[in-house]
């Protein structure tokens, strides 16, 4: 590609690097990223608007949407509480092993989602899990059921909130909290009235990232779910299943919803970045 462009550029009046570099960048991003994104939109509407809307009558699609929402509604609040607790505990303090603890919190980002799912199976599977006996004697079902899927979603998404809030809290000083304490505020009051407002944008940012990832999680949930249509299928699993069953339109319809959510999260992220003062950040969501 580059040599082709180079030989092409020798034939023409020589274009400068200032033209060539953006051109290569745009071509690469166009082929690798933009074309696939357009494919989803065109595939979903391939036969017009009517079948696209009719698809949403599908009972299985509706139950997949509900299950995805359930996992997300468990993971996001739980991880928000953890993220805020971890941030107030860790940020602004220096102690031995702090860097290690921060890496431990980041761990789910480097572990393959499939391995996360495997760990849960080895922990809670009634036949082979470490706690399998306890779980089945209590009559719970965790693996092949929504609690396991929610737990998988929690694990995969828990670093987002903490790693957004910790750096911001580290930049802010102790001064305001100390002032509030001298004026007689309790710990709880200090947290709600001083600490939380000072990191509100980081929390919003963390909420966007956590939600986007929770809605789109595939690998970890796939291992735990057993993939029973209409029962333990989230939206990403539904897309894979529909595609494999050659129910292409249904797959595209579901992909368009999920991709739309991803796009909205990207836009919201950009808006929040503007509000935070143009700090450019980029972190993996999915």
């Amino acid at each position: 590609m580059r040599s082709l462009l180079r030989s092409f550029s020798k034939a023409l009046p020589r274009p400068s690097a200032a033209v060539l570099i953006p051109l290569i960048a745009c071509l690469y991003v166009g082929v690798i990223i933009v074309l696939p994104a357009l494919e989803v939109v065109s595939g979903a509407f391939a036969k017009g608007l009517k079948p696209f809307i009719e698809n949403f009558q599908s009972e299985e699609l509706r139950s997949a949407v509900l299950l995805t929402l359930r996992c997300t509604l468990i993971a996001v609040p739980a991880n928000t509480i953890f993220g805020l607790a971890a941030a107030t505990a860790i940020a602004r303090r220096q102690f031995p092993g702090k860097a290690l603890l921060l890496s431990v919190i980041d761990l789910p980002f480097s572990i393959s989602p499939v391995v996360v799912g495997l760990m849960l199976v080895l922990l809670y599977s009634p036949t082979n899990g470490l706690f399998g006996g306890i779980v089945s004697s209590l009559g719970w079902q965790i693996i092949f059921s929504w609690p396991g899927m929610a737990l998988a979603t929690v694990i995969v998404t828990f670093p987002f909130m903490a790693r957004e809030v910790i750096p911001l809290l580290e930049e802010e000083g102790w001064d305001q909290e100390e002032a509030a304490r001298t004026l007689g505020a309790s710990d709880w009051q200090v947290f709600w009235k001083v600490t939380l407002p000072s990191v509100r944008w980081a929390v919003v940012y963390g909420l966007i990232l956590t939600t986007a990832r929770a809605l789109g999680e595939f690998g970890a949930v796939a291992v735990v779910s057993g993939n029973i249509a209409g029962q333990t299928q989230t939206l990403p699993l539904f897309i894979e299943d529909a595609y494999k069953q050659y129910d292409t339109e249904l797959a595209y319809g579901a992909a368009l919803i999920l991709g739309g959510v991803g796009l909205v999260s990207l836009l919201l992220k950009l808006v929040v970045e503007q509000l935070m003062g143009g700090v450019k950040e980029s972190k993996p969501i999915n």
Binding site: A18, V19, I21, P22, I24, A25, C26, Y28, V29, I32, I33, L35, P36, E39, V40, G43, F82, A85, A86, T88, S103, V104, L107, P108, S110, I111, S112, V114, V115, V116, L118, M119, L122, L123, G129, L130, I155, F158, D187, A212, L215, G216, F218, G219, A222, V223, L235, P236, L237, I239, A255, G259, G262, S265, L266, K269, K280, S282, P284, N286
Partner: protein, 289 residues
């Protein structure tokens, strides 16, 4: 008042090693339930397999074939993105052209698009009747979807943003003076690039490549849709783990999962090391070299 208070205190006290604030208690409890317990389960189950059987299962021909696919193709994808990521970062920071901000936002799309959606789109577009797959099949006879090439493409897609986002801030902070000095001393543009600019970008490029590599090795969602998942052809390691679980071969799944976990920990170490190197370099380029 005072005695009553102290009596109440005497009634129940946390042991000294548990005298933590609420935020610490929540943090440790949550980490224990959500991270340490599952990690421990995997480690215990892997240890229970026994060393000789562990080695046998970890190096079975089937597993070795998936390592070749996963680790090999992810390496190719990461290198490709190392080169093009640098070009894209350069375009974003050093060039002005119409659509620069749009390009900037598009880079994040692989992070934002759920992997199932990405996989579906890539499989369709590179299938023999897709927008890119059809011309490739007709002109060169190359099949991409449902072959190892498709797996590589999916890995390129999901690991593209890492190098761009890791190089961008370093390139922005790079001072023009040095390049001008090199220029004044008679260096050609190529010499300036290879002797002045690239060495300073190297830590950031390598950190981005390592992050992309680690991500591509662990990726499941998008790869499973574009691969035919046939052992010895294009089956990746994460999919093999799932297949082993479906066959109730828990020992194999555990062992291969443990191999992947150890790889993740190693790559985390390498990435952290590279980032420290990069920061040292920024602080003191002479010593960093």
């Amino acid at each position: 008042m005072a005695p009553a208070l102290s009596a109440r205190r005497r009634g129940f006290t946390w042991p000294s090693w548990l005298q933590l604030s609420w935020s610490w208690r929540i943090t440790w409890l949550y980490l224990a339930l959500v991270l340490f317990l599952p990690l421990g389960a995997l480690a215990l189950k892997a240890a229970a397999v026994g060393p000789s059987q562990f080695w046998q299962l970890a190096t079975s021909p089937e597993a070795l074939a998936t390592y070749r696919i996963s680790f090999g193709l992810a390496f190719v994808a990461a290198l490709l993105n190392g080169v093009f990521g640098l070009v894209i970062a350069w375009a974003l920071v050093r060039c002005s052209f119409p659509g620069r901000r749009l390009l900037d936002s598009l880079i994040d799309l692989p992070f934002a698009l759920p992997t199932a959606v990405a996989g579906l789109a890539l499989a369709a577009i590179y299938s023999t009747n897709g927008w890119l797959g059809a011309p490739l099949a007709a002109l060169f006879g190359i099949k991409v979807s449902f072959t190892w090439l498709g797996v590589a493409i999916a890995m390129v897609f999901i690991s593209l943003p890492f190098v761009v986002r890791s190089v961008e801030p370093v390139l922005e902070a790079l001072e023009h003076d040095q390049e001008e000095a090199a220029w004044c001393l008679g260096a050609t543009p190529r010499q300036t690039l290879t002797k002045v600019v690239l060495p300073q970008l190297m830590p950031a490029i390598l950190a981005g490549v390592a992050q992309g590599y680690s991500r591509a090795v662990g990726e499941y969602g998008s790869v499973v849709m574009i691969s035919s998942n046939v052992p010895f052809r294009d089956l990746i390691t994460p999919t093999l783990i799932i297949q082993k679980l479906e066959e109730y071969d828990f020992a194999s799944a555990t062992v291969i999962g443990m191999v992947m976990l150890m790889f993740s920990l190693l790559s985390l170490l390498v990435i952290n090391g590279l980032q420290v190197w990069g920061r040292n370099w920024e602080a003191n380029p002479a010593q960093g070299a």
